[in-house]
């Protein structure tokens, strides 16, 4: 195929209409999306001052990739309310510090409650929040409460508040401290709590920890049922409140649907994990809008080895808005059917179905991309994943070879390169089934990477690895 510039060369014959005079008189409208314009000087100065104060307040010897936006401490007992709706009474002098970490082991958002400053936890290889021994004093005590960091609860039945410190199970150690963990159930989601207790912690502080854990409750607001916001129909941004579907969403007259789940049905998989996997589906590379939530999914179409499902709890992501179609070929027959004529033309969904017999499925509603109705299509869900590579041999001229190990069950190996001056940034991605359980390991593959641009390549760099988000 010829280069796109060559193919579009005739566009150069279409002169730009000179509208500069009218542009200068044109009234300005609201932009279609929020834009990050620079702040006005006064606001910027105030923001810098606030950030400077925040930096001084939060300066601590922390590593890791987390964020710690807020903390509170008081010499008197005080009430702390988390963004997720759980609340505890802080013992005098203890702090509550919110954090967000994302590491190889997973991601977690939550709050650290501690009797002294210990910063944000790291996630170890088991996605367990751990404070390294070099910044956890031997007399320190910390309670970490966050979303479930991994898709598994280890087969343990989640506890239901009120909680007891004695329910926490030994989960590991770090230097002179012991770590215990517990999964517990909230009104709308599961939480993971850990304690890290130094060998030298005082009996008084241990009593304070026990009292804090026993007093953990949920706010009335968190326990309230989200109110339905609309009639059954196509998905919209209003279909989901606080991560849960609050209206019936229906595609193809009910061939695929999601209903609100009862409040006592809570997801096992964390929302963060579900978002990471679902939004990485190649289906969402075509869509401009989407909504994701937890609900009961029904799928009546059985294709490609995917069974039907009825009212199964699942995280479900819907996408739509990618149907800007130019028609298939200008010279082809006039379209006889358009997406607008179909009940849910152009809509797609991916569901992460929990429980026995669960699986990840992708659903493409009956659509008419080329004037002819097709589908619906159901298949096991996939996601895009970038795999690591190593350079194989020296760079020769403007080319080199790289070797990578394909992801199990991965298909559609794709190579992307980008020049960064003399460096060539290389990303190798594959389409991988979400449920890649029984695939054999694949032999390493070697491929050539090259660039026709100057200057010559002096080195190779890695692009992003891991699961790649596709949704806008």
């Amino acid at each position: 195929m010829r280069d796109l510039k060559d193919l579009l060369e005739p566009l150069g014959d279409r002169p730009m209409p000179d509208r500069w005079d009218s542009i200068q008189r044109r009234p300005v409208q609201s932009l279609p999306e929020p834009h990050r314009s620079r702040l006005a000087p006064g606001i910027a100065a105030a923001a810098v001052a606030i950030l400077a104060i925040a930096a001084i307040v939060w300066l601590s010897p922390l590593g890791g990739t987390g964020t710690e936006p807020e903390s509170s401490t008081s010499p008197q007992p005080s009430q702390y309310v988390s963004p997720q709706g759980w609340t505890v009474t802080l013992p005098p002098g203890w702090t509550a510090q919110e954090f967000s970490v994302r590491e190889q082991g997973g991601s977690m958002q939550g709050t650290v409650i501690a009797d002294q400053s210990v910063g944000a936890p790291d996630l170890n290889q088991f996605a367990l929040p751990v404070f390294p021994s070099d910044r956890f004093p031997s007399d320190a005590i910390a309670l970490v409460v966050g979303d479930v960091p991994d898709a598994s609860t280890g087969g343990v039945q989640p506890a239901i508040p009120p909680l007891s410190y004695s329910d926490f199970r030994q989960a590991g150690s770090s230097g002179d401290s012991t770590i215990r963990g517990l999964t517990f159930e909230g009104p709308r989601q599961l939480f993971f709590a850990t304690t890290q207790v130094g060998l030298g912690a005082s009996a008084a502080d241990m009593d304070a920890l026990r009292a804090t854990i026993a007093g953990l409750t949920f706010t009335d607001e968190a326990a309230a049922l989200p109110s339905p916001s609309g009639a059954p129909g196509l998905p919209t941004q209003d279909s989901v409140v606080d991560g849960r579907f609050v209206t019936d969403v229906v595609l193809d007259d009910g061939a695929f649907s999601v209903q609100p789940a009862p409040l006592d049905t809570v997801p096992v998989i964390s929302k963060a994990k579900a978002e990471e996997l679902l939004w990485a589906s190649p289906l969402f590379g075509n869509e401009s809008e989407g909504v994701l939530g937890f609900g009961l999914v029904t799928s009546e179409v059985s294709q490609n080895g995917v069974p039907t499902y009825r009212s199964d709890p699942a995280w479900v992501a819907f996408g739509w808005g990618g149907g800007v179609s130019y028609g298939c070929t200008p010279s082809g027959p006039a379209p006889t059917v358009t997406n607008d004529a179909l009940p849910s033309g152009g809509y797609v969904a991916v569901a992460l179905i929990e429980g026995a017999g669960g699986g990840d499925i992708s659903y493409q509603a009956r659509s008419a991309p080329c004037g002819e109705a097709q589908g619906p299509f159901v298949a096991p869900a996939t996601h895009i994943e970038s795999v690591p590579w190593t350079q194989a041999g020296p760079i020769s001229g403007n080319e080199a070879y790289v070797t990578y190990v394909p992801a199990p069950c991965g298909t559609e190996d794709s190579l992307y390169t980008e020049r960064d001056n003399g460096r060539l940034v290389v990303t190798i991605s594959m389409t991988v089934p979400d449920a890649a359980s029984s695939c054999p390991s694949l032999a390493p593959r070697t491929t050539r990477v090259s660039s026709s641009l100057s200057p010559k390549i002096t080195g190779l760099e890695h692009g992003a690895t891991g699961i790649l988000r596709q949704a806008p």
């Binding site: 195929m1 044109r26 314009s37 130019y326 991309p369």
Partner: protein, 153 residues
């Protein structure tokens, strides 16, 4: 140099390239022209706040155009004058581009046609650079398939 003069210079220098790229992206001269005018009018309204007006106008023009296409969800074919003996192949190219997803089309047009860097495409789409690479790869592959189909027809 006043901001207005600076933007006038951007309009003269970058305008033709933005215009052609918008045409390729939208397939509609009216949408292209309106998006470009809106982007420059927005830039003028922001005055000295724009540190890199050219880059800003590129980004905003394509966001405005994408928003307008999404609002319309219809296609107005490119008004290309046919050659006397041979049909201009550009309508096939534009039509093929139109079959890509909006993000794929935006990535391919901005990067492969208009030579905008991946980082800028990522900022326009609101995605990571790695995601842009995926859009580019899939868009190129799909475009190649579509144009080969056209050749075979």
């Amino acid at each position: 140099m006043s901001e207005e003069t600076r933007l006038a210079s951007v309009y003269r220098q970058d305008g033709p390239a933005i215009w052609r790229a918008l045409l390729a992206f939208t397939g509609d001269p009216a949408v292209a022209e309106d998006a470009m005018s809106e982007a420059f009018a927005q830039a003028l309204a922001r005055g000295d706040d724009l540190r890199e007006p050219a880059r800003w106008v590129w980004r905003v023009a394509f966001r405005v155009a994408a928003g307008e296409l999404k609002r319309r969800r219809t296609f107005s074919p490119l008004d290309v004058e046919p050659a006397y003996e041979h049909p201009d192949p550009i309508d096939h190219v534009i039509a093929a581009l139109g079959q890509l997803s909006p993000n794929q089309r935006l990535a391919v047009v901005l990067h492969d046609y208009a030579d905008r860097p991946v980082a800028e495409v990522a900022a326009t789409i609101g995605a990571s650079r790695a995601t842009v690479h995926v859009h580019l790869s899939k868009g190129r592959r799909r475009l190649r398939e579509l144009l080969e189909e056209d050749d075979d027809a």
